[in-house]
């Protein structure tokens, strides 16, 4: 087998050196009754070409050749080939967690740069080396708020991604947290009257997302003010990190929980992505996850180490701030390289293109009789429209033109059926937008 670097003769030599006659003797500590007598029933063994062929066949059974208008937490953006070139370097790809700092300065410096970029983007003072994804980052941010305030109630806007809320509920059930959802108003943002009624001095966190699931920008200042007066922390979740290229960073937030997938990570059917937690320096000892810190060595050279490790599971064990160990380091590296390539001007330009394409799409859609914009709040690259008929039916028609239509909001929000969440990024050409608009118009005319 090509992954095993031993010849039969060498195996024999080694067995002799150990003093046993066969490999089976080395498994003698496993009770006989448990030892398998037959090989496992697995497909293969495949040569390299056969492995590739298997996956190429699967690739052809997916959505190749289709144009998509889906966002809803995962965004298609341009990625440079340079990012992959770096990621595929064996020194990054196949290296271990940088516990032994002298042998991992590459990883550690890259993490330090990632932490810096995340602070610059979010306007926060400190960011960690990554969480699994935006959904678990949001949950961990809430748990952090619980630890900091000692309170157990959480208020979360329904305009937060439904799957993020689902994850929070799962974790909350077992930690004594009480999660309440707050409605959205006619503008598509958090209903601040509902927030006002719900806020008491037993709330540890108020969670909003901006841009929210409907693509709408939330008004963070009033929400922050209300939370602060009640002694609660404001957690702002962000699923479309690229928005920060054009939108003011949420400095009002006490904790930002962000999904970094937009920065150099392919959609990849849902993962792996990169979650970010960024917050105030005064809260750093309650932050979960790894942190890379700058220091000097014996000779005064700058270097980097994992630091404040006493928060983590391998030291604090049951009193740790989180159980997280393996995180998403390579994905954080992808984001770091991607953002270094985009740079100050590039991220702005990319964000501007997103804004322009989304505005254009909405303008064209509104020309279709019966299609209306749902919410008036400002949006970035996602917006919601109301259609005169079921979105599901329209999407089925669109598939015939090889278009994957917008997200059906009714499935997660039963009170807003016939509304669709449209996402347009810099990767969607004008031609495809016009094709989409045309096909949608036709779809609405098809007799039901």
């Amino acid at each position: 087998m090509r992954y095993l670097p031993k010849s039969p003769a060498e195996r024999q030599e080694m067995l002799a050196s150990i003093g046993v006659k066969s490999i089976d003797e080395l498994f003698s500590s496993i009770p006989e009754a448990y030892r398998l007598k037959e090989p496992l029933k697995l497909p293969g063994p495949f040569s390299e070409a056969e492995v590739v062929q298997y996956f190429e066949e699967r690739a052809n059974e997916n959505s190749r050749g289709y144009t998509s208008f889906l966002g809803a937490g995962i965004y298609s953006h341009l990625r440079s080939v340079v990012t992959d070139t770096i990621l595929q370097r064996g020194e990054f790809l196949t290296s271990y967690t940088p516990y032994q700092a002298e042998m991992a300065q590459g990883t550690l410096q890259a993490i330090f740069e990632f932490q810096t970029l995340m602070c610059q983007l979010t306007g926060q003072e400190v960011a960690n080396a990554s969480m699994y994804d935006g959904s678990t980052a949001t949950t961990e941010a809430v748990l952090m708020a619980e630890r900091l305030t000692g309170r157990q109630r959480v208020l979360v806007a329904r305009s937060v991604h439904p799957e993020y809320r689902g994850v929070l509920r799962t974790y909350a059930k077992n930690s004594g947290l009480h999660v309440e959802e707050l409605p959205f108003s006619a503008t598509g943002t958090l209903d601040t009257n509902a927030l006002k009624s719900a806020l008491k001095d037993d709330v540890c966190a108020v969670v909003v997302q901006s841009p929210n699931f409907f693509g709408a920008m939330e008004e963070l200042q009033p929400v922050a003010g209300m939370a602060r007066r009640a002694g609660a922390l404001l957690v702002v979740a962000i699923t479309e990190a690229l928005s920060l290229g054009l939108v003011k960073p949420p400095e009002e937030a006490d904790i930002v929980a962000m999904e970094g997938q937009s920065f150099g990570l392919a959609p990849s059917y849902g993962g792996p992505f990169v979650g970010v937690i960024a917050s105030r320096e005064k809260y750093v000892r309650q932050m979960p996850g790894r942190l890379a810190g700058q220091t000097t060595d014996l000779e005064g050279r700058r270097g980097f180490v994992l630091t404040l490790a006493t928060r983590e599971q391998h030291i604090r064990r049951e009193k740790a701030t989180s159980n997280i160990c393996t995180n998403q380091a390579l994905c954080a590296l992808a984001a770091t390289v991607h953002l270094s390539l985009l740079g100050k001007e590039g991220i702005r330009e990319m964000a501007e293109q997103n804004l322009a394409k989304a505005q254009f799409t909405l303008t064209e859609l509104e020309k279709i009789p019966g299609v209306k914009r749902t919410f008036c709040a400002p949006f970035f690259n996602e917006f919601t429209v109301e259609l005169p008929r079921s979105v599901k039916i329209v999407n089925t028609e669109l598939l015939k033109s090889k278009i994957i239509g917008p997200y059906v909001l009714g499935s997660a929000y039963p009170e807003i059926t016939k509304h669709a969440l449209v996402c347009v990024t810099e990767t969607t050409s004008r031609k495809d937008i016009e094709r989409f608009v045309g096909a949608l118009k036709d779809a609405l005319l098809v007799p039901v």
Partner: protein, 507 residues
């Protein structure tokens, strides 16, 4: 050394990879590394569209460099890392095996890397087939009966497993209060127990480093939800009494959770499902070769016995009568989601590619892993203290007891090993072995590499006797040496900041 020569070398070394600064330190206004295709729709006015939340200035401090500078920067950084592609990581319980390169190719294929989990299910059948096949393979490997691929890493798998146990106990009317953890356990175990809403109760290992059956009998009550067992243990030793352990737990309605971090000792040789395990997690980034990438991403699938299936996280993949696949969200007893979307799909693809490459011959990998560990053990016995004498499987744990007499500890030895071209083994874990040297070579090391390792460890032991100082002040050959972790913890500097601007001065 003449001062002049020193200055020349300093300047020269800036042009190599020894002194690469931060990307921000390379920045200069208006440098660009990326161009976008021109905008083909009318531009939008951000001020008009966004109003007061419009970020009118660029992101302050953001990098401004060219493409070649980005490439050089990260390439230089990479040369400061050790990696499996370079040599051996004998890290215990990490299973640092070869990351097959074809796995990288298949994960990036258009049609695999490009798919969106919200797209129509009929356009995702390729993804579902991959997931379904991986599920079947992992069930065959573990001998369990149902599985979820959703958890993002081992720790998340542990949490998912405990939540499944809790759901089961809740259904039976008593959610129970505690989870038993052996004192040899990995830190994620107790941390996870707390997040799952349980109390940690430690159970001491016996003189052989195994679960103390008598203590277990005492400690398992109807307040105990589960025992979290790593098998083989973190000492690399198979828990021989696992039948009794399972029986004691089951007699009181408690569950046996197996931490599958050490599956590399078992795959193809035995199946945890046969040993009374009720729920377990796997680490795809360990046993199944997906790359560590400097700390993730990984994946931590959780496999269970049938009685826990109703509680699995949603959605669950199901095969319809027409052979097509769909996602089932209608599962009333599910614990819910543990993360958004389906899981670390890209990691799952790599794991399946690994399994397909081996097929039924995956047993050979396990055999070679155990062979290597035992070969190293045999050749270092007597050179280093071996606290537990039972047979080792895929990893062996020594201690620094012999070297301590000369004032040298496991950390020092580990640092000296760096000078010999190896990454250190795991130091100071498991906690039950003071001064531990935890060594797992994996099957990816040739006899030659193992011999180099043995030789290096022997040489270091000799240095400890004859010139301990060189070991105590190691490493000597790395770019940075003995970084000040105390200063980093006392006054943490966790991000770069632009240098202070002096009022009135230019730049």
């Amino acid at each position: 050394m003449k001062k002049g020569m020193n200055e020349k070398i300093k300047t020269a070394s800036r042009h190599t990879n020894r002194n690469e600064g931060l990307i921000f330190e390379r920045s200069s206004p208006h440098k660009r590394a990326f161009d976008l295709p021109p905008l083909d729709v009318p531009a939008a006015d951000p001020e008009k569209a966004l109003g007061k939340i419009h970020r009118s200035e660029g992101v302050e401090g953001f990098p401004e460099v060219s493409e070649i500078e980005v490439l050089r920067h990260f390439t230089r950084l990479s040369t400061w890392n050790f990696a499996i592609d370079l040599g051996m990581y004998p890290l215990g319980s990490c299973t640092m095996k070869y990351n097959p390169r074809v796995n990288e190719l298949v994960a990036r294929l258009p049609g695999i890397a490009t798919e969106h989990p919200s797209q129509p299910q009929e356009l995702s059948q390729g993804c579902f087939k991959i997931l379904s096949l991986l599920e079947k393979c992992l069930l065959e490997i573990t001998g369990m009966e149902a599985i979820t691929l959703q958890p993002a890493a081992g720790a998340q798998g542990e949490l998912t497993g405990l939540l499944l146990a809790r759901a089961h106990h809740q259904k039976n009317g008593n959610p129970r209060k505690k989870v038993l953890i052996p004192d040899s356990a990995h830190g994620t175990n107790p941390a996870t127990v707390v997040i799952a809403g349980y109390e940690v109760e430690n159970i001491k290992s016996n003189a052989d480093g195994q679960v103390d059956i008598a203590k277990l009998r005492e400690q398992v009550t109807e307040d105990v939800a589960a025992l979290m067992l790593t098998n083989p243990s973190t000492l690399g030793i198979f828990e021989q009494q696992i039948p009794e352990i399972a029986e004691i737990l089951h007699s009181k309605g408690a569950l046996l959770y197996m931490d599958g971090a050490n599956m590399n000792a078992l795959t193809g040789v035995t199946q945890p499902g046969r040993m009374g395990v009720d729920v377990m997690h796997l680490n795809l980034h360990k046993t199944f070769s997906t790359p560590h990438g400097g700390g993730g991403p990984g994946a931590g699938p959780v496999a269970v016995k049938k009685f826990l299936e109703p509680f699995l996280p949603i959605p669950v993949l199901m095969e319809k009568p027409d052979g097509k696949f769909a996602l089932d969200y209608q599962r009333k007893e599910s614990i819910g989601r543990v993360r958004a979307f389906g899981g670390n799909f890209g990691v799952l693809v790599r794991a399946l590619a690994y399994i397909l490459a081996y097929g039924p011959e995956v047993r050979l990998a396990t055999e070679d892993a155990v062979l290597n560990a035992n070969y190293i053990r045999k050749n270092l016995e007597g050179v280093y203290d071996l606290p537990y004498k039972r047979p080792s499987m895929h990893e062996v744990v020594f201690s620094d007891a012999i070297q301590k007499r000369r004032g040298v500890n496991t950390m020092d030895i580990a640092k000296r090993l760096i000078d010999y071209g190896f990454h250190p083994y795991t130091t100071a874990f498991p906690l039950i072995v003071p001064g531990a040297l935890m060594i797992e070579p994996t099957e990816s090391e040739s006899k030659q590499e193992c011999d180099y390792f043995i030789e290096a460890m022997k040489d270091i032991a000799e240095e400890v006797e004859k010139q301990p100082e060189i070991v105590k002040t190691a490493p000597h050959t790395t770019r940075v040496r003995r970084l000040d972790e105390v200063a980093a913890a006392r006054k943490p500097i966790l991000r770069w900041k632009p240098p202070e601007k002096h009022s009135g001065a230019a730049g």
